[in-house]
Structures are given as structure tokens and as C-alpha cells.
Symmetry: C2
Subunit: 162 residues, 2 copies
DNA sequence: TATTGTTATACTCTATAACTATA
DNA sequence: TATAGTTATAGAGTATAACAATA
């Protein structure tokens, strides 16, 4: 029997990734906490910043959460002047969610925090090594079919298919 | 300005790690679900398997959860015949939590699932590349002060210091 | 007085069903 | 009838305080 047959979970790639992933997500949440924007709110704003206004239903699909849970999320963000609800004139059932100037500024502000966070996580890796690592990880993410735009930890656990 | 100054979170090391970490944790939970053992229960059993019997308080510290929450966890595991409570004869306030034969078998059974899980995550990486990746990730984990024995995602969010 | 395990309560997050208004 | 948004309720998971038994 080779050594790899006796791999314990604590020594595995799966464990290391989940451990580092949880830590990275926690560090990101802590870094952006002073802005008053939660990771999920940031994910929503990022979609608006890149793809333009979207309905609550569309955003729910993009974030991997349920339509119902969008209500409180948008309520909170509207209350914080990060987005505004605009009645869709074509389909008057729906709202278009528009980012405010403040919302767009928050996205830029948070994206500006990313290089320092990455440097903290990368530790003593050289720039070359860090980019090689990012390429490798992106390959794994692609192979697993992970959407480059969706942060899985902002979504719930398992959702039943409709 | 170089390109790295305009890094968006979606392109960052932090995002990739949290995305892959959440996916890895979900895959692990799904793989072990048929055994009826939850990731947190597996973490507890792993500590017993490696370090021998421990009190609920000690296990709570190791798992990064609160003493109070150990009660239901041990209740459920005792009900599933994975562990048993043995009154500590030296300190009669405490229980020694002992793994049962069934509990030890579950640990072995779950550890045996790890190589296939790692292979699924590693995708088309060569064995050499996979080991290089694991070494790199372990270096990051060490640098971030992550305990090799503790799975952060089994712990709660932030706990206030007593 | 401090600690182990326990119970009870509250708060957050999420899942589900049912309602309204539009289509 | 189907869909977008809403509301209400229930269920996990966790945090906090307080209690009994023991140290």
C-alpha cells in the first residue's frame, strides 16, 4: 500500500482548501465590515456594477439565493442608499434594482482593499509564485464548473429544485 | 498603474480560495452524508481517534465551539452509538467522551473516501503538481496560523472572548 | 470561588408556503 | 395560468445567561 492510500482528511487537498477558504472569507468579511457592506451585499453590487440593473428575481438567480430572501436584502440596501428600486415600465410586476452613486463607490472602495488582502494571504510567496497559484486554482474552479462571477458562500446550503 | 492595482475581488486569490473552499466543504459533506455522520461529528471523532478520550469542554475548545453546544452534539452522537459518556472518576463533574467501535469505524470509512475526493478536486493535475499545490497551500495555512487539526468551518462565526 | 455540564432563551439565516398584482 | 415581489412561519445554528453538581 502506498502512503496516499492512508490519507487522512486533515492532510488532504479538500481539507486545506476548505480551511483556507473559510479563513479567506472571514478575512474578507472583516476587511469590508467598516464599510457597512456585507459580503452578500457586495456580491449583489458587483453584479449591478458589471452587468447593469437587474430584477430581484435575476439577482436571486445570480447570487444563488431564493427570491423571497431578496426582499430583506434589497430593503436593507435601499435603506443604506446603496441601491434603489425602480418600477420596470415594461413589466410592471418587477423592479429594476439600480446601484446608487454611493453603491458604486462602495464597490470601488472594496475592490481597492483586495490587493492588500491577497498579499496577506499569499504570505511569503513571490509575485510569480502567487500568479502561478492563482492560475492553478482557477483551473480547479473551472474544472469543478464554478461560475467565475458567483461566490458560493453567499448562497445557502442546498436548495431544492423547483 | 500596473494591472494588479485594479484587481477585482472576483479575480483575487481570496475569492478563488473561498469559492473552492466552500465547494470542497460541500463536496466533503455530500460524500460523507450516506454514513449519517456530519462534518462536525467527524471532526470530533477525529480528535478522539488521534488524541484519545477528552472531556466535552476540551472537545469544545478543539472544535472552536461553545461548551453549551457540545451537549446536543454529544447527545446526537451518543444516540447514534458513535461515542459514549463515561463519568470521569478523578473529576466527577466531567465526562470522558469515548469513541465506540462504530465511531472508530466511521472515521476509517470516511478517511478512505478522501483520496477519491481529492482526485475529483485536483482534476487534471498530475500527482506531482497536486503535491506541489498541497505544499503551497499548507505553507499559506501555516503562515496564517491555522491549526492543522481544526476545521474552521465547523466552528461558529465570531466568539467573544470570556 | 471556579469549573463541567446542562437548560432555556434570543437572534440570525434560511427554507417553504401562501398571498397580491401584474402578465 | 404563470411570474415578480411580498409576507409569514418554521427550522437550523449559534450566542448568552443562569442553574446544579462538583472541585
Amino acid at each position: 500500500m502506498s502512503k496516499s492510500d492512508s490519507t487522512r482528511y486533515g492532510d488532504s487537498l479538500a481539507f486545506l482548501l476548505s480551511q483556507l477558504g473559510a479563513q479567506s472569507a472571514a478575512m474578507f468579511a472583516q476587511q469590508i465590515a467598516p464599510t457597512g457592506v456585507t459580503p452578500r451585499q457586495f456580491a449583489l453590487l458587483s453584479h449591478l456594477a458589471v452587468g447593469g440593473p437587474k430584477s430581484q428575481q435575476q439577482l436571486a438567480d445570480l447570487l444563488g439565493i431564493h427570491r423571497n430572501n431578496m426582499v430583506d436584502l434589497v430593503d436593507a440596501m435601499e435603506g443604506a442608499d446603496l441601491v434603489e428600486r425602480v418600477r420596470d415600465q415594461v413589466d410592471r410586476r418587477a423592479f429594476e434594482i439600480h446601484p446608487t452613486a454611493e453603491g458604486m463607490a462602495a464597490v470601488a472602495q472594496i475592490n481597492a482593499l483586495v490587493p492588500a488582502l491577497d498579499a496577506e494571504i499569499a504570505g511569503q510567496l513571490s509575485v510569480k509564485q502567487r500568479h502561478a497559484l492563482i492560475d492553478t486554482l482557477r483551473g480547479l474552479a473551472d474544472h469543478l464548473g464554478l461560475d467565475a462571477a458567483v461566490h458560493p458562500s453567499v448562497a445557502g446550503r442546498q436548495r431544492s429544485k423547483p
